[in-house]
């Protein structure tokens, strides 16, 4: 069976003025559907860079990357918009909700921007079901600025799941939350992984969070130092 993510020899070099900053120095990584994986590493080690490449937000300088059977390396950016939209859900450190949209509209946004729209009634039902799953069914018509940080991140999780993605990426999803709320968010993601087989890959600094993970990757100075290959 083929892997969900198959990366070989991924490098990333940023051009910073005249100097080159090497962020990734040849990363090999495979992830299978249904996994719950956490990436850890010191600040500046390359976690965000790796997640951006996996999420098709950025391109590797070299190496090969196949996502769910799609050779991502050969696609252009607007083409990848479709890949991102269909296959990947994003959860951000800063929540990044659209401030002018209410909770329900934020959750349905990735589906609403599609060219061929889904049946509105079915979409609404799914939005409500997801809102219930993240515990926000009482807040459907609240604007993001009327919600707490934890609630906002729950909206973001629901938004990431509305497209039934193959993979949910979360770059330090708990960094802006207090420890109790972080715990709840992690529990929510674990439950979604367990009950709905959602594949999660997220980065964190938080050692306690790591302890929940089924699989932990460690990155240091642009190299994978532990856990790269499936157990």
């Amino acid at each position: 069976m083929s892997h969900l993510i198959e990366m070989k020899g991924i490098t990333k070099t940023y051009q910073l003025g005249k100097t080159d900053v090497v962020a990734l120095r040849g990363v090999d990584l495979t992830i299978d559907a249904g996994e719950f994986t956490v990436v850890t590493g010191p600040s500046g080690s390359g976690k965000t860079t790796l997640l951006n490449i996996i999420g098709c937000l950025d391109r590797a300088t070299s190496g090969s990357y196949v996502l769910d059977g799609v050779d991502v390396g050969t696609r252009d950016f607007d083409d990848l918009a479709g890949v991102r939209n269909e296959k990947i859900g994003f959860i951000f450190q800063n929540f990044n909700l659209i401030p002018v949209l209410d909770v329900a509209e934020n959750i349905e946004f990735p589906v609403a921007v599609r060219k061929n729209a889904e049946d509105p009634a079915a979409l609404r039902a799914r939005v409500e079901q997801l809102a219930k799953a993240v515990g926000l069914d009482q807040f459907l018509h609240h604007k993001p600025d009327e919600l707490s940080g934890g609630q906002r991140q729950r909206v973001a999780i629901a938004r990431a799941l509305i497209t039934r993605p193959r993979l949910v990426l979360a770059d330090e999803p708990t960094a802006n939350l207090d420890s109790k709320t972080s715990e709840q968010i992690i529990d929510l993601m674990l439950a979604l992984n367990r009950e709905q087989a959602v594949t999660f890959l997220f980065s964190t600094h938080d050692a306690r969070v790591v302890s929940h993970a089924r699989r932990a990757l460690q990155i240091s100075d642009g190299r994978m130092v532990a856990g790269a290959m499936a157990h």
Partner: protein, 433 residues
């Protein structure tokens, strides 16, 4: 996603900025409407003064007259008889027919004091003078119906124009009469002795010199810059002076209400035959076209500048909006919104601004026009001594065009900000703080 909904909400997000942008748009659009209406009203006032004060709606001459109008040719004249007038009046759409003669004459004014007993010369200031002037002769009772504005101007001057058939009373421009130190003969007063009367002297059709005594019965106030050396004379007196009994050079005509100018003109030409020529008022005042063209040109330049400034305001406001929304745009791109959709979202914001600002601007502009036209703006024409009333009006086509300019212009103004937003790279946009 309904782009319209997103656009409206984003505009409502920074209300102060949106309101300021809208106010600029409303001021610009309403100023364009009001200015245009004022120019139209100004043009209407000039037309009104010309048609209802000088020309009439239509004019009939002997063929060739208008081509030689500068020399007021008396030889290119027509027989005037009840039959001719009836023939003209019989053409459908023709209202009142007023016969006229236009001619130039020397106005000779009497000495201001009796001659000295000892035969010595009068001082310069008391001696009479002689000066050239243009005279329009008509029958007051008829002319009053064709160019009633003349009588408004006489009303703003002094005295009256006698309607008596044997009247020798000349009505002069008030400034002209004052410059010549001419005294008015009060209505009903006995004529002064002949040597104390003014005289009009001119060559008749055969170039023979003739003179007739006149008295100054009234004056009219100037309404234009070039009506100073002008006077009105009873037609019968002019015909005697010019040895043109039973002849005139011009008929001034009114139209019946609702009649079509060009249609009546064609009807007249057909009824009268090739011996006659028929002109509309517009053909007699070519300067009006030039004037309107110049005003329109200046108006277009100014309104283009105004619109550009307003639209630059929109560009600026939307660029600020893009800068504030960088991370949000990054998020939209990340979750799969395409660059073209980002572009459309901002173009939609520009268009919504344009529609709202344009519609409000037109509403305010039309309200201004309504207030101005109800009140009527009193404004003297260039060089005039009495004010004419301007009634501003605006044509529906111009209103529609201005709205289209505001909407399309605003959408175009959004192109630059929209392209900037769509060109953002999501990784960097998401990292933006």
């Amino acid at each position: 996603m309904a782009l319209l909904k997103l656009a409206v909400r984003n505009l409502l997000r920074n209300r102060k900025r949106t309101v300021i942008t809208l106010v600029a748009l409303v001021v610009g659009v309403s100023a364009m409407i009001a200015t245009r209406a004022f120019i139209n009203g100004f043009r209407g006032m000039i037309i009104e003064n010309q048609t209802r004060g000088v020309l009439g709606e239509l004019q009939v001459h002997h063929v060739g007259y208008v081509a030689n109008v500068q020399s007021s040719p008396l030889t290119i004249d027509m027989v005037d008889s009840p039959e001719v007038r009836a023939k003209i009046a019989a053409v459908p759409g023709v209202g009142v027919v007023s016969p006229r003669i236009d001619f130039g004459a020397q106005l000779s004014t009497p000495d201001r004091t009796p001659p000295h007993e000892d035969g010595s010369e009068l001082p310069e200031a008391d001696r009479g003078t002689s000066t050239f002037m243009m005279v329009t002769a008509f029958e007051p009772a008829l002319e009053k119906q064709v160019t009633p504005r003349r009588w408004d101007w006489i009303g703003a001057g002094r005295g009256t124009m006698s309607e008596a058939g044997d009247s020798t009373s000349l009505v002069l421009n008030d400034d002209f009469a004052r410059a010549l130190k001419l005294e008015l003969l009060p209505a009903g007063a006995a004529l002064p002795p002949v040597e104390r009367q003014a005289a009009l002297i001119t060559g008749d059709r055969e170039q023979a010199l003739n003179g007739e005594n006149v008295v100054i019965g009234g004056t009219f106030a100037s309404v234009t810059a070039n009506d100073r050396r002008i006077g009105f004379l009873p037609l019968a007196l002019a015909q005697r002076l010019l040895r043109m009994e039973g002849r005139v050079t011009e008929y001034g005509l009114t139209l019946e209400p609702g009649a079509d100018l060009e249609q009546v003109k064609a009807g007249l030409q057909a009824a009268l035959g090739p011996e006659y020529e028929v002109h509309t008022w517009a053909e007699r005042i070519p300067f009006l076209t030039d004037l309107v063209e110049t005003q329109t040109k200046i108006f277009n330049i100014v309104s283009t500048i105004v619109l550009l400034v307003v639209l630059l305001g929109i560009v600026n406001a939307m660029l600020m909006s893009v800068l504030e929304r960088v991370r949000e745009i990054g998020t939209m791109l990340a979750v799969g919104m395409r660059r073209s959709q980002i572009t459309r979202m901002f173009l939609m914001e520009g268009a919504v601004l344009g529609v709202v600002g344009g519609v409000l601007g037109i509403a305010v502009g039309l309200l201004l026009v309504l207030v101005m036209s109800q009140a009527g703006i009193e404004l003297p024409a260039p060089g005039a001594k009495v004010a004419s009333v301007i009634h501003p009006t605006v044509e529906p086509f111009f209103v529609v065009r201005t709205l289209a300019q505001a909407v399309i212009g605003s959408a175009l103004a959004a192109i630059l900000p929209a392209r900037r937003a769509a060109a953002l790279r999501p990784v960097e946009a998401l990292a933006h703080t």
